[in-house]
């Protein structure tokens, strides 16, 4: 063990160290100003983000409970980056909040939970990580303390996530009963497609589907997204979803490879339902957060197609897409959080003639939406293209055609927002917003990400090379 053990778990250690620093500040006697706390935290997170890129050796710890390799490290770095952007964006919201430190302690705990989940080498560790990542989330979903909707969101979230955890646990225990092991590497050798195993597997998939809000397990999403503070909503929609997707890919590809045929059919069904229902519901939304909730459901449908590719390109395209999705979705949420923190307006109708008063923010929002819709030259185009190409590798062109048609529907509702911003008239448009420097930095990172991750092929090639390592 020795030093090895520190370096392999570097991502987790760093987070825990930051949490402890925050804890000491909290219990210390000195009163800190909110601004200085936020600056300190953002510097720490930046440091955390940068250090994540170094010393990424692979290895296994604690009797295969914890494993890491270059791909897992890259996935953690992606999540770190996303969290950093969200932290920058929530500056205007948290500036006047009474419980900044608690917010960050809870937020970083969930992130640590996700890291453990991604690194998990057996089902129990995985379950522990998942729980650590979802319970504190329910607490911060309630962080708009005076809003009843916020409490409602938190309550809905905790109940639904408890339910899905129940399903997962049931699946895990059945799996243990059927195979006699919970260690991933042994599990994959024990799988033979017996009915009990399939049943356990379906329960596991249902648990996953809850977390990534795939239809028909999506019902909690919209309400929670709408009620929670914007920072938490963006965290839920990109980081926690991204983490579960990473695990989903590696679990399906590595552990459940023997059941590939079963899960292909399940994914086919889930992705078609998720795309269609997510898209159709998104059309009718007026609240932007609800709107992005449904659009993110639809995006998951596309990601599932990439996963169903069951190939190196499939895994690479999913990781790549999550990275792009972080940039695009956070670009959109960044604008929404600025507007919402200043004016409290969150409806599409309020954004009419937004361009007249806020040129820069309008372009940022529009470009983010184009990226979500998959319009070149934004990165979203490349992300979707690779997802669908990976899916097409299975030869199921029906699925690809359905996806292509769904792209049109999704374009419609994204363009509806663009239309409101650029073309509609409004007597009381949102006033001119001055952007504080930290959120500006966040928006800049998102825009740079949207432009560069696509056109520069190195990112995709880098991710692809990581996948071939496993």
């Amino acid at each position: 063990m020795g030093i090895d053990f520190l370096i392999l778990m570097k991502h987790e250690w760093l987070l825990i160290a930051i949490i402890f620093i925050l804890l000491f500040i909290k219990v210390g006697s000195k009163e800190w100003k909110n601004e200085s706390i936020l600056n300190l935290i953002n510097i720490l997170l930046l440091f955390n983000c940068i250090v994540g890129f170094f010393w990424n050796e692979g290895g296994i710890l604690f009797n295969e409970m914890f494993k890491t390799d270059a791909l897992i490290a890259a996935e953690k770095n992606i999540l770190n980056l996303g969290t950093y952007i969200i932290s920058l964006q929530s500056y205007s919201w948290l500036k006047n909040h009474k419980h900044v430190l608690e917010f960050y302690m809870l937020l970083l705990s969930t992130l640590a939970g996700m890291f453990f989940m991604i690194s998990a080498g057996n089902l129990l560790m995985f379950y522990l990580g998942l729980e650590l990542s979802s319970i504190p989330l329910a607490a911060i979903a309630n962080f708009d303390l005076e809003k009843r909707k916020s409490s409602e969101a938190a309550f809905k979230f905790i109940i639904s996530s408890a339910f899905s955890s129940g399903l997962l646990l049931f699946g895990i225990s059945l799996m243990y009963g059927a195979t006699g092991t919970i260690i991933f590497s042994e599990l994959s050798q024990q799988l033979n497609g017996s009915p009990l195993q399939i049943f356990a597997f379906i329960l596991l998939i249902a648990g996953f589907a809850f977390k990534i809000s795939a239809v028909p397990f999506h019902l909690w999403t919209a309400d929670v997204y709408e009620g929670a503070p914007v920072a938490v909503t963006s965290y839920l929609s990109v980081i926690s979803k991204g983490a579960v997707l990473f695990v989903f890919v590696s679990v399906l590809y590595e552990v459940f490879k023997p059941l590939a045929e079963t899960w292909y059919n399940v994914l086919f069904l889930l992705s078609v339902l998720t795309m269609i229902i997510g898209n159709l519901f998104a059309i009718r939304q007026n609240n932007l957060k609800r709107f992005l909730a449904f659009s993110s459901i639809a995006q998951v449908g596309f990601i599932l197609i990439g996963i169903s590719g069951n190939s190196q390109t499939g895994a690479a395209s999913v990781v790549y897409f999550v990275l792009i999705y972080i940039f695009s979705n956070l670009g959109a949420f960044g604008v929404i959080s600025l507007v919402s923190a200043l004016t409290g307006k969150e409806n599409i109708d309020d954004y009419k003639a937004f361009y007249k008063t806020n040129k820069l923010l309008s372009w940022v929002l529009a470009i983010s939406l184009f990226s979500l819709a998959g319009i070149p030259p934004t990165a979203g185009f490349f992300g979707k293209f690779f997802l669908l190409m990976a899916g097409a590798g299975q030869g199921n062109y029906l699925l690809i055609t359905i996806a292509a048609l769904n792209m049109i529907v999704s374009l419609y509702y994204y363009l509806k927002v663009v239309k409101a911003i650029f073309m509609d008239t409004n007597e009381t448009p949102i006033e001119k917003i001055t952007i504080p420097s930290l959120p500006k930095l966040a928006l800049f990172i998102c825009m740079a990400g949207i432009v560069l991750t696509g056109l520069m092929s190195y990112v995709y090639e880098y991710i692809f090379s990581l996948i071939s390592a496993f």
Partner: protein
């Protein structure tokens, strides 16, 4: 010659526009950029010509290949043949004319010129792509600027039209995408899958694959070029768009589709083309006749030109569907000719509308007396549209008909005859519209105070008219330019017959 400049130059111009202030700076930069691009395109023509006359017989010249996404074997591969050079010239002509007619674009001028130039980046990139991924990339680049141009600066029910256009074009590219995915997984070039146009053309794609994916690719591209029954975006989109955008839409954007049908669908899936030729011919004949009759009923000048574009683009598809050397030559000629002609038409309509504030035929009259230059331009565009000898329209349509007749199938000949007959209808609506607006008594006394074309409008019209007349009087140069390209395509199609 480095073809990447063709993409870089408009892109740099577009970025430069963002740093300008005020209409004067913006339009000067835009004009300088497009003029440079115009000269570059002319230069390309001469350089290309020189290469060919010195005996360079490779199908694509000046090609440049850079590995873009290695894992999927995606390349940034560009190069030109005669067809692409013709289309690039067309784009350069239309874009510079578009900038000139938008000379007094007051509201949000920076965004307007930025989007217009960004649109042209898509078109240039599309025409020089030799990798179907890059081709698809540039095809989609050109969708959103159109949406914004129509939705922000358009007239009438602009939001509806913009949305309709964006969604239908997106549907087109969605179908194209499925076609591309099918092609990609149908290829096997030394054990690797590929998007490269040349590599795919050298291998034989499974006939079953072609039968499945040809319709996807062809209909997908066809939507861009107003394939019946997917033409409904054309009238709304064209008539709501601001003048420069209409010119671009009808002049270039619709040609993207025709070019794709030829270059991707027919060239790469020749068996598919043979198999579905009758469908293409049926649909394009319906488009030609239905479009012509629909135009007769229109009262708005822009709708007249939009529906007639729908009808004229039918000739492009008819030429492609007939699959003879001459007919495909005719299809390409028609693309270039129609691009110039319709841009001129829309420019003239825009000039009339900006002065009289109406586009209704019945409210206009006697314009020749007050604005002679614009009226003449309008009449020239009309005459070119109805195929008067001496203008490009005659050459192109004639070639299509001759080529179509070479196809010995009885039913195809019937289609040719019907398509020919539509010219009479074209003459009716063009002469009626032109006669009513230009001749006769002045219908509104306000018209007496109208001022004739300004220098920029004269220049724009002049550039387009030069193009039209150059093709009309001396069609052989354009024909010689495109023939090696079309012969190369026909070679593949010919091989496909022997395989049957």
């Amino acid at each position: 010659m480095n073809l990447s400049f063709l993409i870089l130059l408009p892109f740099v111009t577009a970025i430069a526009i963002l740093f300008c202030n005020g209409l004067k700076q913006v339009r000067t930069v835009a004009l300088i950029g497009t003029a440079a691009q115009f000269l570059l395109s002319i230069d390309l023509l001469f350089v290309y010509w020189k290469e060919r006359t010195t005996g360079n017989n490779s199908p694509f010249l000046f090609d440049f290949n850079y590995t873009w996404f290695a894992p999927l074997n995606i390349h940034y591969h560009i190069g030109v043949d005669g067809i692409s050079v013709a289309m690039i010239l067309l784009t350069a002509f239309v874009v510079i004319a578009g900038v000139l007619v938008s000379w007094t674009q007051e509201s949000m001028n920076k965004e307007f010129f930025f989007l217009l130039l960004f649109l042209s980046v898509g078109a240039y990139g599309y025409f020089i792509s030799l990798d179907i991924f890059t081709l698809f990339f540039f095809l989609e680049v050109a969708v959103i600027p159109k949406f914004l141009l129509i939705g922000i600066w358009g007239s009438g029910k602009k939001e509806y039209s913009a949305m309709k256009l964006a969604l239908m074009l997106m549907a087109g590219s969605g179908l194209v995408f499925v076609g591309l995915a099918g092609l990609y997984y149908g290829t096997n070039f030394n054990g690797e899958r590929t998007f490269d146009l040349l590599q795919i053309s050298q291998m034989h794609i499974n006939i079953l694959f072609q039968k499945i994916f040809f319709p996807f690719a062809f209909i997908g591209f066809g939507i861009f070029t107003a394939l019946f029954p997917f033409h409904t975006w054309v009238p709304d989109g064209h008539s709501s768009a601001p003048t420069a955008a209409s010119m671009f839409l009808a002049g270039i954007s619709m040609k993207l589709g025709g070019y794709g049908c030829l270059r991707v669908a027919t060239y790469l899936m020749p068996e598919g083309a043979h198999y579905y030729a009758w469908v293409i011919i049926l649909l394009s004949t319906i488009a030609i006749i239905y479009g012509a009759f629909a135009t007769m009923m229109q009262k708005d000048l822009k709708y007249i030109n939009a529906y007639s574009s729908f009808s004229h683009c039918g000739f492009v598809l008819l030429g492609i569907g007939m699959l003879t050397q001459t007919s495909i030559n005719g299809a390409v000629l028609q693309m270039v000719s129609h691009g110039l002609m319709t841009a001129l038409f829309f420019a003239a309509i825009g000039m009339i509308y900006s002065r009289t504030h109406t586009r209704m035929v019945e409210q206009l009259g006697g314009l020749l007396k007050v604005i002679p230059f614009i009226s003449t331009v309008f009449v020239i565009a009309g005459l070119c549209s109805l195929g008067l000898p001496g203008f490009s329209g005659f050459v192109a349509e004639m070639t299509v008909f001759m080529g179509a007749w070479q196809n010995p199938d009885q039913w195809y000949r019937l289609a040719t005859i019907l398509a020919c007959a539509s010219i009479v209808v074209t003459a009716v609506y063009i002469l009626r519209a032109a006669g009513k607006t230009v001749m006769g008594p002045i219908t509104d006394h306000h018209y007496n105070n109208l001022s004739d074309a300004t220098w920029n409008e004269k220049l724009a019209a002049g550039i387009l008219i030069i193009g039209i007349v150059a093709i009309g009087i001396a069609p052989f140069w354009l024909n010689q330019l495109i023939t090696p390209g079309t012969e190369h395509i026909m070679e593949h199609v010919g091989k496909a017959i022997t395989l049957k």
